[in-house]
Amino acid sequence: MKWTDFIVPIIFIWLFQLLIADFLTIGTIRPDFPLILILYFSVRYGRSIGVISGFFLGFIVDLSGTAIFFGLLPMTYSLTGYLAGNLKGLFKKMSPVSYAFCWALIITIQFFIFCLIQYQDLWAFNKGVFLGKWFGTTIYTLSFITLLQFISPLHKNE
């Protein structure tokens, strides 16, 4: 396990998110590529690496954006890294559907926590719009992960 195996994809994904993600924006929703990378890292290397990479990448992304709640992404990405790290080595013990359901659930939880803090006013005053934001961001990123399963399935990275 070389350090470049982490740094190069992180830098690549960070640049991709910074420069290209805007072209894929629908309304105010854009795909979360760093989250996808953390999911892959966690499933491949386990919880520790998942948490560290999640925190580090979240910190970089927050630092490069205009985050209102600075520190929110390190927290949610760390959580994703921790939860997804538990999936390491589980593919052989679970059915593919359950396995896919697990990572989809982790992503959904991550976005729920993110939206809950980011859009707390919406949660309090307009739950419909809040749910729209949550489902929108979740489904958009999940669709990219689903597409990736045809190119590089998660379980192949275990």
């Binding site: 420069l19 805007d22 520790s48 925190f55 979240g58 630092l63 520190g71 927290m75």
Partner: protein, 266 residues
């Protein structure tokens, strides 16, 4: 101690997760600290520098559409500005007319210039008041800057005004403060002369010229212009005074007709 080390190693995932959560919470709670602001400011500079090529490419992508929108907007704004400038000029003119009407004792009828004729030289204009409005032939017409002519033909709701710029126009004037009188006539475009002025009076450049009041048409004291030059007429006992007319004859749109005479000097 070894047991603690073993416990840490065994539960390092959980401990790391707790540490990450704690650090994240600390970051969230210190969002407003000045140090955090400095760090984020520096990071924003780096990000801005790195994003600039993509921003440039994106701006090129939308350049044509943006240019079209801006061109349209520019045209709209130009027309708007033009309209506003015209309105401002008109407003200034109307304000000065209002001011004149307040200042003077004369009874005046406001009128609007409806036609300036087709002649190459502006000799007469048509105004939108006539005998139905109390306007008759040979009444003085002026603007806040001074006399511009007199009515020569009057219809029901319109009148023709002979302008001071007509070569056939004559006006009896007085030069202030000397009080010398003379007859004003136009020499060429925009330049007028006062003749029949006695040689022994002292006249300076910049002296005010007003109507003398000797005429049946013009009450005394109406502004006409200012002296721009004085010289002696050789072989006679008279001076010739050059006059600068204050009105630009091609620009005014609103005038007054004096329908009842009270001498301004009185």
């Amino acid at each position: 101690m070894y047991g603690l080390y073993l416990a840490i190693v065994r539960h390092k995932d959980h401990l790391l997760f707790i540490l990450a959560l704690t650090l994240s919470l600390l970051l969230i709670l210190n969002n407003t600290s000045p140090e955090m602001g400095v760090v984020r400011g520096k990071a924003a500079e780096v990000v801005s520098f790195m994003s600039s090529p993509i921003t440039f490419i994106r701006s090129l992508m939308f350049l044509e559409i943006e240019t079209q929108i801006l061109r349209k907007k520019n045209l709209e704004l130009s027309l708007q500005v033009e309209s506003m400038l015209n309105l401002q000029v008109e407003n200034d003119e109307l304000l000065s007319m209002l001011d004149l009407k307040k200042r003077t004792k004369l009874i005046m009828k406001p009128a609007r210039v409806v036609n300036k004729g087709l002649q190459p030289n502006l000799l007469s204009i048509v105004i939108n008041v006539g005998f139905e409005d109390g306007v008759y032939k040979n009444q003085a017409v002026l603007t806040p800057k001074g006399v511009i002519g007199k009515t020569v033909e009057v219809g029901g709701h319109s009148s023709i005004v002979q302008l001071i710029t007509d070569l056939n126009y004559r006006l009896s004037v007085r030069i202030l403060p000397s009080g010398a009188t003379g007859i004003l006539r136009l020499i060429k475009n925009g330049k007028a002369q006062i003749r029949e002025v006695q040689k022994n009076v002292k006249i300076n450049i910049g002296d005010k010229v007003v109507t003398s009041g000797f005429s049946d048409i013009y009450p005394s004291g109406l502004p006409v212009g200012s002296v721009s030059g004085v010289f002696d007429d050789r072989g006679s006992f008279q001076k010739i005074v050059n006059l600068k007319l204050p009105n630009n004859m091609s620009s005014f749109q609103n005038v007054f007709v004096i329908i009842e005479k009270i001498n301004e000097m009185d």
